[in-house]
């Protein structure tokens, strides 16, 4: 069930032209650089500094509540972080200059190395996300730290582009990209080829190698065989380079990528555990009433923080996967299945994707709406220097929608649980297709119980 969105009148020219995307990228880059500046030289008071307010409240809200659930990797198509490096790599801001055989890969500055094979996975991103999460209490509240971190991302991205080919930073290093990619499997939009058979016969493979009209896929994906959203950054190059106009953007049911039993990996499974563990930890530490936890999470370098860090790492890398493994083993016993545990473990972990996204939505709802009113003074006085650009500098803080948020959080969590149960049940069917319906159910039940327990824990933390 797919609807080709490029059938809509204006969409195809808008996607093929480089200007709309460039304008968004420039605005995002401007905001990004502004946020770095604000973080480095603005007021140290986080809730009145543009960097904290517009990165961790505004951008995070847009990302978690709109961009990822509805557009998958849509943010990646306008993200400013890789863009300066990519311009240097290509030697151009718009389309290739069209001179020479390697027009597609540009005449820029990059050394163009291949990313090492051993690192062609999510593990670096998993580690990066865990690292940022350990310091999140400080990152989210100290403008200097946010500014330095964002600047570091920019430098690393530029450096990576100058050494390696294509968007190596985005694909293998960016901690945000790691989880956006995983959750993009749920999104109702996708970039796919219309007729895969056509791609088989097309030798130049301009979608991957580039042409005069555009660059080869920066995400190192071959569009002709793209089945899942996970690694497609929706940059649109393949739309521009395909001579047969065979690439398009489809509207599709939510969670369509979860239906694909192939291509499931351990690093992606662990990404799901890291995210689930993080949202549980954040819900307890940031939104809970336990001051000692917050102080421990903030006091980086002290024994209390070490205790917190260790507990956090054990939760995401040990406890959650461990409990899940027990659930998977129990399911195998109930179903008398012969499939290797590792394969079943990885497969069932994909049921945690909708659970995780729902959990992050529920968490973000509380955090964002309680603090959204900081946006207005931060717009008028982004540095906390006493400016009043738009007249809103003295608007007082007030939390929004406090009476409705708990119900909304509940709805999100229930929706995630329903979806996770359905997915687990479906995965059980794929794992043991020869097994009858009742046994398939029993195989998925322990995993569903795991999802239920996680949901109850989140309900207790967020709504209880």
């Amino acid at each position: 069930m797919r609807y080709d969105l490029t059938r809509l009148p204006l969409l195809k020219p808008l996607l093929r032209s480089r200007w709309p995307q460039l304008l968004f990228q420039i605005m995002a880059l401007g905001g990004f650089v502004f946020a770095i500046l604000a973080g480095l030289v603005g007021t140290p008071v986080g809730n009145h500094n543009f960097s904290i307010v517009f990165v961790w409240i505004a951008w995070w809200a847009l990302l978690m509540l709109i961009a990822v659930p509805l557009f998958g990797r849509g943010w990646c198509s306008i993200c400013p972080i890789p863009v300066p490096g990519e311009w240097l790599q290509r030697g151009a801001v718009l389309k290739p200059s069209g001179r020479g055989p390697s027009a597609g890969s540009g005449r820029g500055l990059s050394w163009g190395r291949r990313w090492p094979n051993r690192l062609r996975n999510l593990w670096l991103q998993n580690g990066a996300f865990a690292l940022v999460a350990l310091f999140s209490a400080v990152v989210l509240t100290q403008p200097r730290v946010t500014g330095i971190m964002l600047a570091a991302f920019l430098f690393i991205a530029v450096g990576t582009s100058l050494i390696f080919e294509r968007r190596a930073f985005c694909r293998y290093l960016c901690p945000v990209g790691g989880f956006i990619g995983l959750y993009s499997q749920l999104a109702p939009v996708e970039v796919r080829v219309k007729d895969p058979a056509l791609c088989v016969t097309h030798t130049p493979k301009t979608c991957y190698l580039g042409s005069d009209d555009g660059y080869g896929c920066p995400w190192q994906v071959f569009p002709g065989r793209l089945m899942k959203n996970t690694y497609c950054g929706m940059c649109g190059e393949c739309l521009r380079t395909c001579p047969y106009d065979n690439v398009t953007v489809n509207l599709r049911p939510f969670g369509a990528d979860l239906q694909h039993p192939t291509g499931r990996r351990l690093d992606e499974a662990f990404k799901a555990f890291i995210l689930l563990g993080s949202v549980l930890a954040y819900s307890a530490v940031m939104l809970g009433p336990w001051g000692a936890l917050k102080s421990a999470a903030y006091a980086v370098g002290t024994a209390a923080w070490l205790g917190y860090a260790l507990t956090f790492l054990i939760l995401i890398f040990g406890l959650l996967p461990g409990l899940f493994w027990i659930a998977v083993r129990a399911g195998r016993v109930f179903a008398r299945s012969n499939t290797p545990t590792r394969q079943t473990f990885i497969a069932f972990a994909y049921a945690l994707i909708p659970l995780g996204l729902a959990a992050w939505i529920a968490f973000s709802l509380a955090f964002v709406f309680a603090n959204l009113s900081y946006l207005w003074p931060a717009l008028s006085d982004p540095f906390g220097w006493g400016w009043n650009l738009f007249g809103t500098a003295s608007m007082a803080w007030t939390p929004y929608l406090t009476r409705v948020i708990p119900a909304l959080q509940t709805l999100a969590l229930l929706g995630g649980l329903m979806w996770a149960s359905a997915t687990a049940h479906q995965i059980a069917g794929e794992q043991s297709p020869s097994v009858g319906h009742a046994s398939g159910l029993s195989q998925s039940l322990p995993v569903i119980l795991f999802c239920l327990l996680v949901t109850l824990a989140l309900l207790g933390l967020l709504v209880g």
Partner: protein, 171 residues
């Protein structure tokens, strides 16, 4: 989603829900969900009393951080700041108080709205200020109980919504 209808083939020993049973189950489920979600909670048995709560705020927590009262209670909060100027904003009641060390602030209100409400600091008191949160329970947390009930229904709904493909070796 794959649109394969399950037929009652004699080879299949599986007992799979037919389309009709699934539809009726979903209807029953929806009814149960609506009941759990909207059935009015029983009225509180406890008679409303006067409560005095000594609430002390320091960077970055309240003491006590979790407070429980009964619906209808007349609650007087004596709000003390222990180190710097702190605020108190109560969700759901939209009450706002500020206290400075040495100057206790007092507020009396009637807890006529049942539920569980967060209270937060409303005066910037340092880096962790946005996370300075406490909880006030007015009566039992009916939303949480309903949510727990609905969670169980969600699991069942999830299982019913997925249309299982027929077992491969029997087609």
């Amino acid at each position: 989603m794959r649109n394969i209808l399950l037929k009652d083939a004699p080879q299949t020993r599986a007992i799979s829900p037919t389309l009709a049973t699934r539809r009726t189950s979903l209807i029953w489920l929806a009814l149960a969900a609506l009941t759990i979600a909207f059935l009015p909670a029983p009225a509180s048995v406890a008679a409303p009393t006067d409560r005095h709560i000594h609430l002390e705020a320091s960077r970055f927590a309240y003491a006590p951080a979790v407070i429980a009262v009964s619906p209808g209670d007349r609650v007087t909060i004596e709000f003390k700041a222990a180190d710097v100027v702190h605020g108190l904003y109560l969700d759901g009641y939209s009450l706002n108080l500020t206290a400075e060390p040495g100057q206790t602030a007092r507020l009396t209100f009637v807890a006529d709205r049942p539920g569980t409400f967060r209270f937060r600091c409303s005066v910037t008191c340092g880096p962790l200020h946005p996370f300075m949160i406490g909880k006030l329970s007015v009566g039992p947390n009916w939303l949480l109980y309903r949510a727990i009930g609905l969670s169980l229904l969600s699991v069942i709904a999830g299982l019913l919504l997925i249309k299982r493909p027929a077992p491969r070796d029997t087609l």
